[in-house]
């Protein structure tokens, strides 16, 4: 049975296993996001709440259950290795915020 009130109660109980601000900053770095101190504070609270709710999955013993990543039984969707029309260089570059007519331009790497 779904019980929105109940879900919120369970959640408060579980909030003890929350994510820290340092962890949020670490994950943000992995995701290539920059968070202001304020953003990091509010994200930490919200992520803790959400992860607390998600911990509901621990109620189920999944030891012998195979994971599902795809719902249809499609295997090896092969196609012939043939040349087909594709975007021209100019079309491919058209949306780039910075390009030199031949390539995308990025800051110096080495």
């Amino acid at each position: 049975m779904f019980d929105l009130g109940g879900a919120e109660k369970t959640l408060k109980k579980r909030n003890t296993m929350s994510i820290s601000k340092e962890e949020v900053m670490k994950v943000a770095n992995l995701a290539r996001l920059e968070l202001s101190l304020e953003e990091a504070e509010s994200m930490t609270g919200q992520l803790s709440t959400i992860l607390g709710y998600v911990a509901k999955l621990d109620e189920i013993d999944c030891r012998d259950i195979a994971p599902t990543t795809h719902v249809l039984a499609i295997e090896n969707a092969f196609r012939a290795d043939e040349m087909k029309p594709s975007l021209s260089q100019q079309e491919a570059l058209a949306n780039a915020p910075l390009q030199n007519g031949e390539a995308f331009v990025v800051p110096r790497i080495i």
Partner: protein, 487 residues
């Protein structure tokens, strides 16, 4: 009596076009006249496409005169702004794609244009389809045509509001956890999320690739069948699209449900369900019984775990899919960054809104070293249990009937500070995406306050014909189609 052209369904417009009573140019002009009046109130569109639409309409009329064109020849449609339209800005509701002009069309667009359909504009949506109220759009929140203080639903909110407000004849949306069915329900329209793989995702900006599916939002069930006919089918450019025969879906629209078993999943009627919604849905079930269906209570025991599994799987896939927005090949770029990592971080942080950042963080966390087994693997195992629930249920019945949402549309801003309560509101639509089964929302009634309430029909993989048949019988029994919001 003068016919209000913008108010027509697709099949009504088809009849008038076939009889030479109207033209696509007239229909399309009527839609833009309607938009000029109601769009300031509804705000269903991010980008209007008037100039091109009128050219497309004239071309459609020429096609028709030559005896060419498909069922949708000359029909004005809205397209969710997450579907690539060649030469027409496609933002996904995000600042990061504010200036993105796709260099190619999505497969569904090629199919619609091949029939001669007209694209009147790109419909509003939650940023990257992440949201349930269309309140996470960088270009403003659309309003529910039935009550402008309320959300129109999401993430395909603009697609639903535009149809309800007669600002197009039908639209395309996308559904990752309910994003077609929920706004259709809140706006009193028909919404169909096809089986995963039924419609090509090529050219759909990816959110969660194992869950995303494109589908129509329409004024009635016949129009949904016409739209599905146009967009369904295998596409070699989408390796997850299915090579399964496509019937003529309009042939499924027959009266009578004798021999059909309708399952009523008890978990979908749990505590937290608004009594008004329950009353409307029970009335809808009575109509199906009156049409000859056998009604049977069934159980999908893992329903309550759907939201938790979804909010691991969908953000995990999103965190990977959205890595492509790096400020290099397309989209917003911070021009002052002098290292690559700064370029990535600043471009993404400036371009993405809060909800998108939140989900990227959840997804990255769930996939990160040390947490993968506890989160992503666990959620994928629970997904197996949900798939199994459906398999069991469909051994006992042909379709499942339930509410689409636990409550009617909430007030704009009401849940702004509480993302989890928004996530939980999707608990009745999420399981279909996790299992890849088709789901449909059909107008079933109204709350006392006059907000629409939809009934959800779910079926086994590739059973869209059965869904449409049940929906058609419900529609015939209820006589509420054609009721319009006052704007």
């Amino acid at each position: 009596m003068q016919i209000k052209l913008s108010a027509l369904t697709i099949h009504e417009a088809q009849d008038l076009l076939a009889q030479g009573e109207t033209s696509s140019l007239e229909l399309t002009t009527a839609i833009f006249e309607r938009m000029a009046v109601v769009e300031p109130k509804v705000a269903a569109y991010i980008t209007e496409n008037k100039e091109q639409a009128l050219i497309q309409a004239a071309e459609a009329d020429a096609m028709r005169a030559r005896g060419e064109g498909g069922a949708l020849c000359g029909i004005p449609l809205a397209i969710k702004d997450v579907i690539c339209t060649k030469g027409l800005r496609t933002t996904a509701g995000s600042r990061i794609l504010e200036n993105f002009i796709p260099p190619y069309d999505a497969t569904v667009m090629e199919k619609l244009q091949g029939q001669g359909a007209v694209c009147v504009g790109k419909a509003s949506m939650d940023e990257f389809a992440m949201g349930s109220g269309n309140e996470n759009c960088a270009y403003g929140t659309p309003h529910n045509p039935w009550n402008l203080d309320h959300i129109c639903g999401g993430s395909s909110g603009g697609s639903a509001a535009a149809v309800a407000a007669d600002e197009c004849m039908a639209s395309l949306g996308s559904d990752t956890g309910g994003s077609i069915r929920q706004p259709a329900s809140h706006c009193g329209m028909v919404g169909l999320k096809p089986t995963y793989g039924r419609v090509s995702r090529f050219g759909l900006l990816a959110f969660a690739s194992s869950l995303d599916q494109i589908g129509p939002i329409t004024k009635d069930v016949r129009d949904a069948a016409i739209m599905l006919n146009a967009i369904a089918g295998y596409d070699p450019r989408d390796s997850t699209s299915a090579q399964v025969d496509i019937p003529d879906y309009t042939k499924a629209l027959v009266t009578g449900l004798d021999g059909l078993t309708v399952g009523v999943p008890e978990e979908y009627f749990g505590a937290g369900l608004d009594p008004e919604v329950e009353k409307v849905i029970r009335h809808g079930i009575d109509q199906l019984k009156a049409a000859g269906a056998q009604i049977k209570t069934v159980s999908l025991p893992h329903t309550e775990y759907g939201v938790a599994a979804y909010y691991i799987i969908a953000p995990a896939e999103a965190s990977s899919n959205l890595a492509r927005y790096d400020g290099v090949r397309y989209g917003r770029r911070d021009m002052k960054a002098d290292s690559l990592i700064e370029l990535y971080k600043r471009s993404r942080s400036q371009g993405f809104g809060d909800e998108v950042k939140r989900r990227i963080l959840i997804g990255t966390y769930a996939l990160s070293s040390g947490y993968y087994d506890a989160y992503y693997k666990k959620a994928s195992q629970v997904r197996t249990l949900i798939v199994e629930d459906y398999r069991q249920a469909f051994s006992a019945c042909d379709v499942l009937v339930s509410p689409v949402t636990p409550t009617p549309a909430w007030k704009i801003g009401e849940k702004a500070s509480d993302p989890l309560s928004v996530y939980l509101s999707d608990l009745l639509t999420i399981p279909a995406n996790l299992a890849g089964v088709p789901g449909m929302s059909v107008p079933c009634g109204f709350s006392a306050a006059g907000l629409p309430i939809g009934l959800q029909i779910q079926g086994s993989h590739f059973s869209e014909e059965t869904l449409l048949k049940v929906a058609y019988n419900l529609e015939q029994g209820l006589h509420i189609v054609g009721k319009k919001p006052i704007l």
